[in-house]
């Protein structure tokens, strides 16, 4: 199914400047869609997850309006055409 990733400004350094990246995913879950994104743009991976594949503490991934931490994480199920947003959390100083 086709889904679209929203890419925040810093990560566009690794997506040839693209802020929206569609992936024609065989993906049924967020994790599978992210794997498709990382195949296209490998530099995104290490910024979103650590060496162990764990979502970085101050990075949020939303499916539509749902934070995947409040759903089933990388197992969160996708629906056709949904936007997946990678958004830095409010933090810092």
């Amino acid at each position: 199914m086709a889904v679209v990733f929203y890419i925040p400004s810093y990560l566009r350094n690794f997506t040839e400047g693209r802020g929206r990246v569609p992936v024609d995913a065989r993906a049924g879950t967020v994790g599978e869609a992210l794997a498709e994104l990382w195949a296209l743009y490998p530099g995104v991976r290490d910024r979103v997850v650590d060496e162990r594949g764990k979502l970085r503490q101050h990075v949020n991934v939303f499916v539509g309006d749902t934070n995947i931490r409040d759903a089933r994480g990388f197992e969160t199920v996708l629906v056709q055409g949904v936007e997946i947003s990678i958004i830095p959390a409010v933090s810092g100083g």
Binding site: Y10, F14, G43, D46, R47, E51, V59, P88, S91
Partner: protein
């Protein structure tokens, strides 16, 4: 994002590499070191605890350990003094997937010995040592240290459990020292396969056993390449010297107002001259009496004298972190340090007189020096026959 200013470094220039909590900056001067031009911010918003310049084998490469609170830590390099940076897609410094660790911060980047120009070392948090032998393309974890049986007893200090100092023995490729907060000093004599704690005589005020085998909170270790078995150590309380390659340490505290501090820098030409910057206490991390003073020993720690000319001596409650003081290799030597309040001070006179180089930066975490080829001190002309002088230079 802010506009990044660029510098053009030329042969003979001195460039200060300034890491801060909000990005990196470059300060360029000619060898007079009086007027400074600023480049940056590079990596705006990111924390830069480690910077290094690699001028070996004709390179002019900057290295930066970058850390975003959002996107994690990585390493980047520039061959054009910051105009462009190469940040690899895949973070090349990484813990094994089977481990429970992930890279949090790069604390130290150190180019290897002159005769191994593609070797670079990196100290990171959580405490570990990485080495690259292909000029930074790939990095290998030093397993002997990572798997050390002491590891589970190392404790994070205020800055985290970090390997922040790497000292190479220029004469012996098998020997090097590292320092961990809190773990203490470890030395390898077999190229990094095995590591032994080297902390005899170094105190640990925060433990019931004040002189444990390991577990000290060492803040910085320096040594001069001409005398690698003599090391100087700034501890979490205490100044120490070793004359036997860190097999044992003796206190060298005469003349300092306090033995707490972070920064320590070796004089580039004199193995008996060292600079440090005392901080009042761990519970009050500010310069004593509101006076910003560098202290210098010229006799290997036998005594320390304050250097205050040109530095504020009133209402100056500053703190200088462990990697925020460096020297250049000119004659007289340049000495530089940066404060947590965003000021950079410099001396072009071995520390005798100081001047404010830059103000208004984010909190400074790191100060390193690049001498662009041709900037090194040139020997004074000798009135001896040319043949003899030439032999000496070789």
């Amino acid at each position: 994002m802010p506009q990044t200013r660029q510098i053009s470094a030329r042969d003979g220039d001195v460039v200060l590499l300034i890491g801060t909590m909000k990005g990196a900056f470059l300060l360029r001067s000619d060898k007079k070191r009086k007027r400074w031009e600023m480049g940056g911010p590079y990596f705006p918003g990111q924390t830069i605890y480690a910077l290094a310049y690699d001028g070996r084998a004709g390179k002019r490469r900057l290295w930066a350990g970058i850390q975003s609170e959002h996107w994690g830590a990585s390493v980047a390099s520039s061959d054009d003094f910051g105009r462009t940076w190469l940040e690899p897609d895949t973070v090349p410094i990484r813990f094994p997937e089977a481990s429970n660790d992930s890279l949090k911060r790069i604390w130290q980047i150190l180019p290897g010995r002159e005769e191994e120009p593609d070797t670079i070392y990196c100290g990171v948090e959580p405490a570990a040592l990485f080495r690259s032998t292909d000029a930074g393309k790939t990095w290998q974890l030093a397993r002997g240290l990572y798997d050390h049986p002491h590891r589970k007893q190392w404790q994070p200090g205020g800055g985290g459990l970090c390997l922040h100092t790497i000292v190479l023995d220029p004469r012996n490729r098998e020997r090097m020292w590292i320092a961990i907060s809190t773990g203490g000093v470890y030395r390898t004599d077999d190229g990094g396969v095995t590591w032994r704690p080297r902390n005899v005589g170094v105190s640990a005020e925060f433990l019931p056993d004040k002189y444990p085998e390991f577990g000290q909170c060492v803040h910085k270790v320096v040594s001069h390449p001409s005398k690698p078995d003599r090391l100087f150590l700034q501890n979490h309380w205490g100044l120490f010297r070793s004359d036997d390659g860190a097999d044992s340490w003796k206190a060298i505290e005469k003349g300092v107002p306090t033995t707490f501090g972070f920064a320590m820098a070796m004089h580039p030409h004199d193995p008996s001259t060292v600079f440090n910057l005392p901080i009042e206490a761990d519970m009050f991390r500010a310069t004593p009496e509101g006076k910003l003073r560098v202290y210098r020993t010229k006799n290997g720690g036998g005594s320390w004298q304050p250097l205050s000319a040109g530095l504020p001596q009133k209402n100056a409650y500053e703190c200088v972190l462990r990697d925020a003081m460096s020297t250049d290799r000119l004659k007289p030597a340049g000495v530089y340090f940066g404060t947590r309040s965003g000021k950079v001070y410099g001396s072009a006179s071995d520390g005798n007189r100081w001047a404010l180089v830059m103000d208004g930066l984010p909190p400074v975490t790191c100060v390193k020096v690049a001498q662009v080829a041709g900037a090194a001190a040139k020997p004074k002309p000798k009135r001896k026959p040319a043949k003899k002088a030439a032999r000496k230079r070789r």
